[in-house]
Symmetry: C2
Subunit: 214 residues, 2 copies
């Protein structure tokens, strides 16, 4: 079986989401670097794979698939019998994992992404950080983390008793946010969230992903 | 088996997404109205079910589940052997359906929701429509629909050859947007999208959902 081709870059949050799933599953993959500086993602060869012009996209035999969370689910399903279990066993377990993924996609990331953009991406691009956006987003983000804190008081992982895609989808953005001034305080004030992050970020599969962009 | 309790209101897009899945599956459900005008969704009894204070949330025997797309997936999995098939048969089919759901959640709705808010919700609340937001969002929305148009030239449904959750998740917002001035023109300019909408909005299950708020 040919390795899965992942078109992306190892420091992009959405690419990391896919790499984390592959790494947890001990699946073979080949990273095909996309040169964002040269605008490769807006050129026809890339657009033929990913019409929105954003990374990542995978090619696995005849299948071309984009959207990082869809790819992570596909990896979890395809490699069901190898590596870590990521997607539950029963219909109910899977439902709670899906709820956790959607908490990330619909709440955690919409609140946290503007902070990441303003504090990490804008300075890289030579644009000043919009402090008003950071402050406003931090208030929203803290409220989202309150809900995570409450859930993690009842179970060690966001999908329940075991590590799953619900946790994994949160990891790339958390990796960047947790070390930033001010944001770090928001995390540190929530002990269950901190203990959860210690637990999940010390996984061998995750260390392999972050090593790629270290 | 007790009917699934759906806490929500039948004209809310996210509630409609859940009702559409239940309707396609011919599953028994009981709609528990949430009085948003009275702020019931921000009161402790509701927050105990849905910590973010938004509709919908379902209760099915011992399971409490929120996030409309997670609920729709759960309904598709739980009632796998009854009603319409919504979630594919193979791992690859499911992956492409997931890609279609994420196209809705990450592209279609982020572009279309501000239009819906400004043109439908704001007037209901007595707030003036922000025309600049509408214009800016319409440009983004048209670009997203271009991609849908291209995909629907190759297959009749967003997940491939059959109707699925990929189509279903798009339906509530499309239902509202397609009749609005200006937005209607964006739809009409794309013939495959229009044919797709005719196909999916004429489904009996969908007619039952829209009849609830007619």
């Amino acid at each position: 079986m040919a390795p899965v081709k992942v078109h992306g870059i190892p420091r992009s949050t959405c690419t990391m989401r896919v790499l984390a799933a592959l790494s947890e599953k001990e699946a073979d993959y080949e990273l095909v670097m996309v040169n964002l500086m040269k605008g490769e993602h807006k050129q026809p060869p890339f657009l033929a794979l990913q019409p929105f012009g954003v990374i990542p996209v995978i090619q696995d035999e005849d299948l071309t698939l984009f959207e990082s969370r869809a790819i992570a689910r596909y990896v979890a399903d395809k490699y069901q019998n190898q590596g870590s279990s990521l997607y539950g066993e029963s219909v109910t377990e899977r439902a709670l994992i899906e709820q956790g993924i959607e908490m990330e996609a619909q709440n955690f990331t919409p609140a946290g992404q503007p902070i990441f953009y303003q504090m990490v991406i804008a300075p890289m691009r030579g644009t000043p950080t919009n402090e008003a956006v950071v402050e406003e987003s931090l208030i929203k983000f803290a409220k989202v983390l309150d809900i995570h804190e409450e859930r993690l008081a009842k179970a060690p992982y966001l999908g329940g008793e075991s590590f799953s895609l619900a946790d994994l989808t949160h990891m790339p953005l958390t990796h960047y946010l947790i070390g930033l001034p001010k944001v770090s305080d928001v995390f540190r004030a929530r002990k269950n969230v901190m203990a959860w992050w210690e637990r999940i970020s010390s996984r061998e599969a995750w260390k392999k992903v972050t090593a790629l962009s270290a």
